[in-house]
């Protein structure tokens, strides 16, 4: 599965939602779409660190790096290169 799809599917199965069916486009701000609490954010962080064997530094733990599928993927790609 390509990176974007993996991240999207992780978000969809973990973010707190009203509807059973939601869609998230690459540039949708997930913090605006649903109620993103710290537990979700932490799960997402643990997931990308484990899945891609990277270590996200404190300075990179900003909303902007986690707000969209695109931004999360750029963060991962940046760390991998």
């Amino acid at each position: 599965m390509i990176l974007k799809e993996k991240i999207r599917s992780f978000i969809l199965s973990n973010v707190l939602v009203w509807e059973d069916e939601v869609e998230i486009a690459d540039d949708d701000n997930i913090f605006k779409l649903g109620f993103v609490n710290s537990l979700f954010a932490m799960k997402l962080l643990n997931y990308i660190e484990k899945e891609y064997s990277i270590q996200v530094d404190n300075t990179e733990m900003n909303i902007s790096n986690f707000s969209t599928v695109n931004n999360i993927c750029s963060l991962i790609n940046k760390k991998l290169n």
Partner: protein, 344 residues
Amino acid sequence: MDELIKCVVWDLDNTIWDGVLMEEEVQLKQGIKEVLETIDSRGILQSVASRNNYDDAMSKLRELGIDHYFLYPKINWNAKSESIREICTSLNIGINTFAFIDDQPFERMEVEQVLPEVYCIDAALYTGILTNPRFIPERITDDSRMRRVMYQQDIARAAEEEKYPENNIGFLRSLDMQLLITAADETDLARAEELTVRTNQLNATGKIYSYSELEELMNNPDWRLLLCELKDNFGSYGKIGLILLSVGKTALHIEMMLFSCRVMSRGIGSMMLHYLNQKAVEKQLSLTASFKDTGRNRMMYMTYKMAGFVDAGKTDGDSSLLHYQPEFSSGLPPYITITDQSNI
């Protein structure tokens, strides 16, 4: 220093009772009920790791009137270290706060080898645990006395959650959660101290405050010491949050914020930050916070950062200073009511 024990895991055969359940009629060990009751009333949790048939052992525990003391009892044929690890995961408390009591040297050795941080005790010494300092909390609060009952409420909540699709907000709405914020008074100080000692993951600075320090802060007009209690349809989670604020000329500053890990999945930290920002806006103050990396509180850092805090240098002490600069505000979630009686 060795950690205070938070959970005692008991073997059954020849430990809780005399005899082997599968082979003979068993009888409770002398004084064991009193030991279980005393440990329970000190706010120390208890569980079971026994090699037995689950249904038989549980019905015997019920018959003996002691089944309610045990959370997540593991009665199976697995290694005891595996059972203890599972209990540890379910309770979400550190493995170094576990004690294991078993009459068989082999079982204790197995646990010691796999989980060296677990305090293993020979069942022959079961009454001795009551006077062992690792089993004596310095203070016992209303919250600690209710701890086991609150875990049982949590288990009932989890069963209810199973009925909903995963991560569905309908479950949270069904709980009718209410967060009550109050200014600390004398009766809260022991619990406040306990929270600073017991809370690691959701603790912004990791600083432990003594009873007398908290008392001083409570009486000092420069500081506001707040307690948060969470309630829902299943009962009260108890006083699960502690916040220390200073109201300055330009900023409302969060010197300390911590929440019991029992409310981790409720997003209380994010909500409180949002609420405190509303307060800061009302007072035309900016909102700042102290954070200190303790190696265990990354989740709290994430809570601040994902709420819209940015790093802004150092505080006067050795903590980082965080400054609230939201790009946008998602608002308070609709599934919780906040009642503030603190008069911040």
